[in-house]
Amino acid sequence: MAFSAFATGTAQEQAPRRKSKIALLLLLPGILYLMLFFLVPLVSLVITSFQAPVPYGDIGEFQTAFKWQNYVDVVNTYGEHILRSFGYAILATIFALLFSYPLAYFIGVKARRWPLLQNLMLVLVIAPFFISFLLRTLAWKSILSDESFVISGLKALSLMAPDAHFTGTAAAVVFGLTYNFIPFMTLPLYSNLQQLDTRLLEAGSDLYSTPSKTFFKVTVPLSMTGIVSGVLLTFIPAAGDYINASRDFLGGTGTAMIGNVIESNFLVTLNYPVAAALSIILMAVILVMVTVYVKRSGTEDLL
């Protein structure tokens, strides 16, 4: 539903005009599923976001109202967290792209001659999925803790100040987000670059184009659908993540993201309208950013 904005005129014209009962029947489970598990919770979330506390009610008790001020309040109170979340997510997406592109290019293009190596590297990319997201993040917490080999080593080499820390900082959170979402960036890129026609690169070279010019004029435009898919798959979950930034994982008191604020309002203070309003804002901002990004990158057909 959210991506209907990207529908193109051409696609509509190509759709069969004749109504098919079988097609409708086949669609029914999907529609019911979406209604039950997407539409109903979404509407419920919107209604909750406008609720007001029950007069003299207990903690967590709210009644249906149209308290739009909830939205103003949360933006005023948690504006900094909203900006921080998108800042971290954008940084993590850029770092993941910079890391994943060469990797996907190597697996998808350079390693074509060695299928075994190609498969082995793909397994290495996918392998982290076999371990829980939480465990992987906890492992990084140990690896990057003050007393760890890595941090002690960096301090011994004077690359870090003796009393400096890594965990609990913004850098640690962005690092965690980047690491955790790298497979989501690499796989769509690989899937796209695997189909890259290398004869086009040869043609570029034959026409006296420098390797870098060929890369930016031929390879990148051809892999744009992969880049857009990877960016979306990384950016959207990264913006709403609440594990990496949590004080119990890689974050600290100054790194809370919007997901942490939502979690705290849902679980601890039981302020459901605030949590719901924040969730709606998060969803709306992501939708706007993604729409603008997809329109600008000229890959509307992708969605």
């Binding site: 109903v40 207990d58 009644q63 948690y78 600290g252």
Partner: protein, 394 residues
């Protein structure tokens, strides 16, 4: 069983429109159900089936059972004596998480999968206020008189009609003895510039802010304090967090930070300090601050939907037996609500029986205060205010 009238079915065939209307109504009903968070009538207690079903599901905390390796001697002894089989779960590692899991069932008076739950006193106060617990049949708690007088009553549950004390402990200041050989004597010591970036505090509001308020001379047990005193404590903590003096604010993991050296001084619970000392050598000291420490308590309640109330009461009563209570306190290092004395206390090693943090004297108790029960408005306001520190901006 009534049969469906076939004739009416045939005269009213299910059209696509009817079906869609039905689906719409169903979805709306679901939606309304999903949106409802308004108060409803207090649920009623489930029927007790303890006579026929000799079982008990006990939700507690991981650190509260006494074990000998893989054995749980007292649990087994209870089952042997009563014939009631106990399923012990460590489901209540965090009060808020546990509450969010079970609150919808509680609201409807349904079974939450536990016949007795161990909760922090402030959470139990909420459950009692909302009518989510069953009244305890006092005559089954024959060992009630063994409980220390101070635990026999509670402001949130006068006369202990719906809750019973389970474990307690002190919150004070802890330090790394190698790094700080002179130790700490007050909460203000934690704000010394020499400890900048090396201090940890607990995310539990009543422990941390309770100590800070006591340090400011506020009697946290009395009713003479309010928004101004609480805000002052929040601001003190906020200042220390934003200046970088406080390195971490954590739940149970604060003790891991102490253990690893990430923090060298902290607001801590004495049981946790004893635990890390047992695990990693006697490296950490603990003190109840000069201006007072916090006495925290966990209590046991019987959820409204429990069908084994009597079994739960028998179980609790078993642990109120003096000889059992002393064993549990010695094994877990938490203060028992039972007034343990001779001859029972003579059955455990002297180094334990003389430990005032496990078997406190009246004088030790007098150095601590219990955070008073907050009103529902205060609970909401103060909780939100405290969260702004935990989710502070950089």
């Amino acid at each position: 069983m009534n049969e469906l009238p076939m004739s009416s079915m045939s005269t009213h065939p299910l059209s696509r429109r009817t079906m869609l209307q039905g689906a719409g109504v169903g979805a709306s009903a679901l939606l309304l159900a999903a949106c409802s968070s308004a108060p409803s009538a207090a649920p009623t207690a489930a029927v007790d089936r303890s006579e026929k079903q000799k079982s008990l599901r006990f939700d507690s905390r991981d650190t509260y059972r006494n074990t000998t390796g893989e054995d749980y001697p007292l649990l087994e002894k209870f089952t042997e004596a009563s014939g009631i089989s106990v399923t012990y779960s460590s489901a209540v590692s965090d009060d808020n998480v546990y509450y969010s899991k079970v609150k919808n069932q509680l609201k409807m008076g349904q079974d939450i999968g536990a016949d007795a739950s161990v909760l922090s006193d402030w959470m139990a106060a909420r459950w009692i206020r909302l009518g989510y617990v069953q009244e305890i049949e006092r005559k089954r708690i024959t060992n009630f008189e063994n409980i220390r007088l101070q635990f026999q009553d509670a402001s949130y549950d006068p006369g202990r009609r719906a809750s019973l004390p389970w474990r307690s402990g002190f919150t004070g200041v802890a330090w790394n003895k190698e790094e700080l050989p002179e130790g700490l004597t007050s909460v203000s010591d934690l704000w010394d510039p020499s400890l900048s970036g090396k201090v940890g505090v607990m995310s539990a509001m009543r422990d941390t802010l309770g100590l800070i308020m006591l340090d400011a001379g506020v009697d946290i047990e009395g009713k003479d304090w309010g928004d101004a005193e609480f805000s002052n404590a929040v601001n003190t903590l906020r200042t220390q967090v934003s200046s970088g003096q406080v390195r971490s604010i954590k739940g149970n993991q604060y003790k891991e930070d102490l253990k690893s050296g990430k923090t060298i001084a902290a607001i801590a619970r004495v049981g946790d300090v004893m635990q890390i000392n047992a695990e990693a050598g006697d490296k950490w000291g603990f003190a109840i601050p000069e201006k007072g420490g916090v006495l925290w308590s966990d209590v046991v309640v019987i959820p409204i939907g429990s069908t084994h109330r009597s079994n739960a009461e028998d179980f609790i009563n078993f642990y109120y037996d003096r000889s059992n209570a002393v064993k549990v306190a010695a094994a877990t290092s938490f203060i028992s609500p039972v007034d343990v004395r001779q001859p029972e206390i003579g059955t455990i090693p002297q180094e334990l029986s003389r430990n005032l943090m496990i078997f406190p004297s009246e004088a030790t108790f007098a150095t601590t205060k219990t955070f008073r029960t907050l009103s529902q408005g205060e609970e909401q306001r103060y909780g939100a205010q405290y969260q702004t520190v935990l989710l502070a901006g950089a």
